[in-house]
Amino acid sequence: MHPPQIETMLDLAESYVLLNRQGKTQRDLLRGRTLINLFFEDSTRTRTSFELAGKRLGADVINMSVASSSVNKGETLLDTAATLNAMNCDLLVVRHGQSGAPNLLAQKVDAAVINAGDGTHEHPTQALLDALTIRRRKGRLEGLTVAICGDVQHSRVARSNIHLLCAMGSRVRVVGPPTLIPNQAARLGVEVFHDMKTGLQGADVVMMLRLQRERMSGAGSLVPSPREYFRFWGLDAEKLAWAKDDAIVMHPGPMNRGVEIDSAVADDPVRSVIKEQVEMGVAVRMAVLDILSRATRND
């Protein structure tokens, strides 16, 4: 997406924030449209967020999760695509553990496919909701210094945020232990830091990432232990003090309290915007559904 498209999307989402807060709905907009939430990976907030967004716009929403789908019975991804296509669905929201799976589906179905997170590739609506949250708090995206901290290597949230924020003219940094920063990260247009103190210096936004348990223990671990990780890369009040005085704290959820973020910071009513991110999530997804269904709505 280009900056003007992103701005348009965020403006539209902004209007949905107001509607949501006033308790008003737009039930006519997607009346008669079908939205399928196709989740091959567990998710609570993203699936619920899309479900709410679809329902507030009047769509018929169906949730399919891998546990109840025929994927467990041996059906391939493309078989699933063909089946859903035959059902004439309009919007397909896909979460998959493999990078690129939504692209494959999009080639095979007529519905508009929305990537709700694929492997360690992208999570575009998360980046949009993060951008909306930042823009509301800081009034702009351009020129802000955003530090994305933690397991960048395995984070689709980080990748999508890097693309979006760089496009909007933010200065993006990634901060994390050398074992969790991907190869050639600087080529994505970011500055790489391994030390939180220098990485957070002068940051307007501190975006923490989730560290999966399996990265901290066992044969495949990439950092020695949760306590060491928290000691050097976990965001607590001491480390947050290295950022700007008015820096905001973000986290895509779900949080590992005491690992990548300290509860005192996560629950700080002034600095933490983590709950606001969730609220923005619904509005942004309404905007995305709205725009993507326009082509088939003829209005």
Partner: protein, 424 residues
């Protein structure tokens, strides 16, 4: 503490290249002054060195201790005795003890145990992997904060390339080197002598010298990939040294040490199944020994370490293949190194540099120099005095020296730790 004035000494400080006859004044545990002629402060204790060499206390960057877990082999107190007799005032110790040094509290314990000796600073290496098992990274950050000088799994090679990659990347964050025992374990197997005619004649399972070169090549490649810093301990083969030499020329952060047996002895020392000469890596062919000596002279080898490994009689009084590898080295480190000076292979100042300032720099330790203001860790030795190494008569506890019977020139006369005389 009263001042100490050491007069009539040949002062050698490899850190600055100083080599001149003069005096050195110790005050409050530090080197207050040194020069060709110093006045005697009131009440100072005067030591007449009689023209002997006074150099910084030796920094030994590789030793195994019996504590914790192997006190029957050697306690820290006994090792400190042997170290003082050998002129060593700073000792870096390997973490493959029982329990392994993979927890910050154990690093602090070892540091404190060193201080308790009053004569020997102990610089602990910490484990790279939990339990030195070679599987998961240990808490390198917390270990470093507690005072670990570098990371290694000790006498166990880091076999997994994945773990080595992580360790190099992660340890770099803490400015510490990863120290490797350079031996590809799957190739070394249960071998106990270097591959060649002698091992064949003795009917001993052999370790190909290539086992060392393979690991060195792999780790240099991983340094290139991660930007980390690796140090190879007790390098013993010509082939591995060639690889290290080339890596240095490429500007990679690759360093190494060797131990006296590898430039003073060759495989024939195992002669009639002498288990005291069973070492890891094994004593090599004469061509490798010559290559090690040459690499000391040309700077490829950064430091000489004792590679001290205490063993008791029960570890060694076994059929050769079943005996434990390892030799003591604290008391003989200086004299065996001086053999390279006496045979013309190494200049004296350079040889002492390999035993003092060079390892101190690799470990980031405040030691190994006679600069004014530095701790008064000193070693006074007679360059010419000859003596014979005798297993059973060595200072300390462990007696398993591979140099048993070797006649050497160069005897430590006195050792000072932080200004206090601890030997002689």
């Amino acid at each position: 503490m009263t001042d100490t004035l050491i007069q009539n000494a040949r002062l050698i400080d490899p850190a600055s290249g100083l080599d001149q006859v003069g005096a050195l004044l110790v005050r409050d545990g530090r080197i207050a002054d040194l020069g060709p002629a110093l006045g005697r402060p009131d009440g100072a204790v005067v030591v007449d060195a009689g023209g002997a060499v006074l150099c910084p206390g030796l920094v030994d960057m590789r030793a195994e201790l019996g504590e914790p877990g192997g006190e029957f082999r050697e306690t820290i107190a006994a090792a400190a005795q042997a170290a003082a007799a050998g002129g060593i005032t700073t000792l870096a110790v390997l973490p493959n003890t029982d329990p392994p040094i993979d927890d910050a509290a154990l690093v602090r314990l070892l540091r404190a145990r060193g201080e308790e000796t009053g004569s020997l600073a102990i610089l602990p290496y910490a484990a790279i992997s939990k339990g030195c098992r070679g599987e998961e990274l240990a808490e390198l950050g917390l270990l470093r904060e507690a005072g670990a000088v570098a990371f290694t799994d000790g006498t166990r090679a880091i076999a997994s390339a994945r773990l080595m990659r992580l360790a190099l990347a992660y340890a770099g964050q803490w400015g510490a080197r990863v120290v490797q025992h350079p031996e590809e374990p799957s190739l070394a197997g249960s071998g106990c002598a270097t591959q060649g005619e002698l091992a064949t004649r003795l009917g001993l399972p052999a370790i190909p010298p290539a086992a060392e070169a393979l690991m060195v090549w792999r780790d240099i490649r991983l340094v290139r990939m991660t930007g980390g810093a690796v140090h190879f301990g007790h390098v013993s083969t010509a082939e591995a040294l060639d690889l290290i030499r080339a890596a240095k020329a490429d500007g990679l952060d690759v360093t190494c040490d060797t131990a006296p047996p590898y430039f003073d002895l060759n495989e024939t020392a195992i002669g009639d199944f002498r288990t005291y000469a069973k070492l890891s890596p094994p004593l090599r062919a004469e061509s490798d020994r010559l290559a090690v000596a040459a690499a000391l002279a040309d700077g490829t080898i950064d430091a000489i370490a004792s590679d001290h490994q205490p063993r008791d009689a029960d570890d060694k009084r076994l059929p050769f293949a079943q005996a434990a590898p390892g030799g003591t080295g604290l008391a003989t480190l200086l004299a065996v190194t001086l053999a390279q000076v006496h045979n013309g292979s190494l200049p004296l100042v350079k040889a002492l540099g390999l035993l003092t300032v060079a390892p101190a720099r690799l470990l980031g330790a405040e030691a190994g120099t006679l600069a004014r203001g530095s701790p008064a860790d000193l070693c006074l030795f007679d360059l010419e005095r000859s003596w014979r190494v005798e297993a059973g008569a060595l200072p300390g506890k462990a007696q398993n020296t591979p140099f048993d019977g070797r006649a050497l020139e160069g005897r430590v006369l006195g050792t000072w730790k932080a200004g206090r005389r601890v030997f002689g």
